[in-house]
Structure formats: C-alpha cells, structure tokens
Point group: C2
Chain length 239, copies 2
C-alpha cells in the first residue's frame, strides 16, 4: 500500500552512524550493569560522547532501552518454545527456567523491564507472550508426573522473581548463586511435597500484582489518606 522506502530517509553521515553504534553498545553495558536508573547522560559519557549526541539519536532512555530489550525478550520467548521440543518434560521446564534466568541475571535493566519497574504495559506485553508457552511446559511436566499437581504457572513467575532477587543480592561476585536456590525451589516443585497452605495467584491476580508491585524504593503514589483517619487538628483543636 504505502511506499517501502520510509525506513531510510537519509543515509546518516558516517560519524553519526558510528556514534549511534557506540551509543547502543554503551547502553547495553550500562543498563546491564546499573539498570535503567542510569541516565542517557551516563550512557553518552560511557560511550565517550556528549549528551547532545545521545539525545539527537534517542528521545529518551526508554526508547533506547526498549529497542535493546526487545531482542533479548525475543530470546526468552524462543527458549520457551524450544523447551517444548525437549523430550523429557521436566528437563524441558528446567531448561527454560535456566535459559531465561541466565539472560536475566546477566542484565539488570532487563530484570527491571520484566518485573515492570518502569512500565507495567511493557511488562504486560511480555507476559502475554510468555504465559501460554510456560503453562504448556508446566502442564506437560505435571502430566508426566514430574511436577506436583497443585503447582501453577504463576508459581513459575514467582520463582523467577525470587531468583532475580538472589541475583540482585549476590551481585557480580557470585553470579551463579541463583542456581543453588533454583535447585532448591525445583526440588520443592516435585510431587509428594508438603501441602501448600495458600492458593497460588490466578493469572489475572499475578498480572495485577506485578503491575502494582511496589518495588522497594520506587516512587509510589502519595499518601492520599493524609489526616483523614487521624484526629482533625490533633492536639490543637480550634477552640
């Protein structure tokens, strides 16, 4: 319908193209190490470029970051699909979790996106794409008797979240520590375990929880209950 040439209005000058690549590379490193708390200014400096250059190429850090993440997220979705091809259902499930965590633990910015720290919508999109494959993986493992029947797909989401926490806590000095706790959790997913005292979240509940998730130290909505439930004027009544 429309012309195809829209993608290349002008070829971009040589230095500009090079700097753009430098920026993307720098962003990858900076966001992976410090998360999206890093500013475009930081990225620019890390690339050895001026701030202006960065803002000329990308409107803001989220534009840059989401371009970067898109690709990685695709990787995760793919690994879910590939895990379905593994013969042993349990192995498949484990393979997926590990593959997905290898990527996540290496990239703090990605963890933040996946946990919906900055943009719940973005995260919701990702979950849309992942929920189906993950459910399948789980059900297949349950039908084969490898996973307890009362486990739920949202459990895998929480396990993922817990591993991210471990990665955050352990930091660069023990980058593989999460594997220890994943092993522990997976043993707890096997049949014959203690009955769960609490029901799993349903998928919509899970979605909600992630969206409203008050990340430690994230800016939250102001305290709107100010004074309403407190004695009006307290110890200084009007008369």
């Amino acid at each position: 319908m429309t012309t195809e040439q829209v993608a290349t209005p002008r070829p971009l000058r040589k230095d500009a193209a090079r700097n753009r690549e430098l920026l993307i590379e720098a962003a990858r490193e900076v966001f992976a190490r410090r998360g999206l708390e890093a500013s475009l200014d930081d990225v620019a400096h890390h690339a050895g470029l001026g701030v202006g250059t960065a803002y000329r190429h990308f409107a803001n850090k989220y534009e840059l970051a989401s371009a970067l993440m898109e690709q990685t997220i695709e990787t995760i979705v793919n690994s879910a699909e590939q895990a379905m091809l593994v013969d042993d259902p349990w192995e498949g499930l484990v393979a997926f979790l590990e593959a997905s965590l290898v990527v996540q633990t290496a990239d703090r910015g990605l963890r933040e996106v996946l946990m919906g720290v900055h943009d719940p919508q973005k995260m919701a999109q990702v979950h849309d794409r992942l929920f189906g494959p993950i459910s399948e993986l789980l059900h297949r493992a349950q039908q084969s008797g490898a996973v307890r029947e009362d486990a739920d797909a949202t459990d895998l989401g929480f396990i993922n979240g817990m591993m991210c926490t471990v990665a955050d806590m352990a930091g660069d000095s023990s980058p593989d520590l999460w594997r220890r706790y994943l092993t522990m959790c997976l043993d707890g997913l096997r049949p014959g375990g203690t009955a769960f005292p609490t029901a799993a979240l349903s998928e919509p509940e899970f979605r909600d929880a992630m969206a409203n998730h008050k990340h430690t130290l994230t800016r939250t909505t102001k305290d709107t209950s100010a004074g309403q439930d407190a004695p009006a004027k307290a110890a200084t009544p009007a008369s």
Copy 2:
C-alpha cells in the same frame, strides 16, 4: 556513675506529648505500608500534624524509624531463641522462619532495614545478633536428619530475602502468599534433594553481598568508568 535524671530534662507539655505519640503511631503505619521512602512530612500529615512538629520531635526519619524498628528486631531475635526450645528441631526452624516472616511481611520499612537498603551498618548489627541463633537452629535440624547436610545458614538468609520479595510482589491483596513459597523452599531443604550446583556464600560473603546489594532502583555510585574504556572522543578525534 552519672546522674540518672538525664532522661527527663523537662516533662514535655501535654499537647506535645500527645502529638509525639501520634507521630510514632503514624510513623508505624506509614513506614509499614510505604517503607522508608516516606518522608517525615508524610508521617506528619498522616498524623494530622504540621511538618514543623515532626521535625521538632525527631531530627529525621531515620531516627524515628530506627527507634520504631529496634523493638521489632528484638522480637525477631527472641523468636530465634524461643525456637531453640521447641522439641522437634525441624519444627523449631520452621517456627522461627515463619515468626520472623510474619513480622517482616507486615512491615515494608522493617524489610528495608533488614535488607540494608538505607543503612548497611544497622543491618550488620542485626545480623550479628541473628547469625549465632540461626546457625544453631540449622545445625540442630541437620543433626536430627531433618535438613540436608549441605545447607548453610546463609541459605536461610537468602530464603528470607526471597520471601520478602514475594511479599513485595504480592502486596496487600495476598498477604500470606509467601507461605506457599516458603513451603516450597523448605521442601527443597529436606535431605535427599538434588545436589547443589553452586556453593553457598560464606557468612562474610553474605554480609558483603547484603552491604553492597544494589537494590533495584536504589541510587548507586556514579559510573566512574566514564569514557575510560571507550574510544577517546569517539568519532571526533582531535586532529
């Protein structure tokens, strides 16, 4: 040695005393719900008082918060000691974890203090007091054959951290969800599980990890590597 009367220089006027109590009560609620991100201003408004009043009573929010927490932390230490009195070593261990998590999951500010979000020193103090009792609880359980031999006291620290994450994620709508995942983790602590692929952190390593723990979205040290590893001047060489 010194006189005892230092504690009461002046009796504090009636309204002042009352407002002080109101502030403490408000702080308890506000910090529990929103964590230490809340400002003294927030606490004051929640108490129905002016900001000035708050600052007259407490130099800053940390002074107020740590006074508040002290008491709760004591509770946790006590519950560790009481857990040693439980006959069944496994039950004792579980009882301690649950008791400590009941307190923590109900109070986001406490979680932050215990995770060392704001003040690593404070956290270190708490860990000093907890490490001994927790180790004992664990070893006793291991000797009774209830817990796998290769589990470590630091594992309990990470399990605790993971449960806090669950609590953060689940929020107020599912305040007990952590029990589900604690059950899962505890099953994974039982003897006969899959071999761990990674060694546990040693206690000093654990301490370090907590102290340097880059909490999601916490302000961190600036990127000091700016430009050093990047091509100097990039696409704009000096001549």
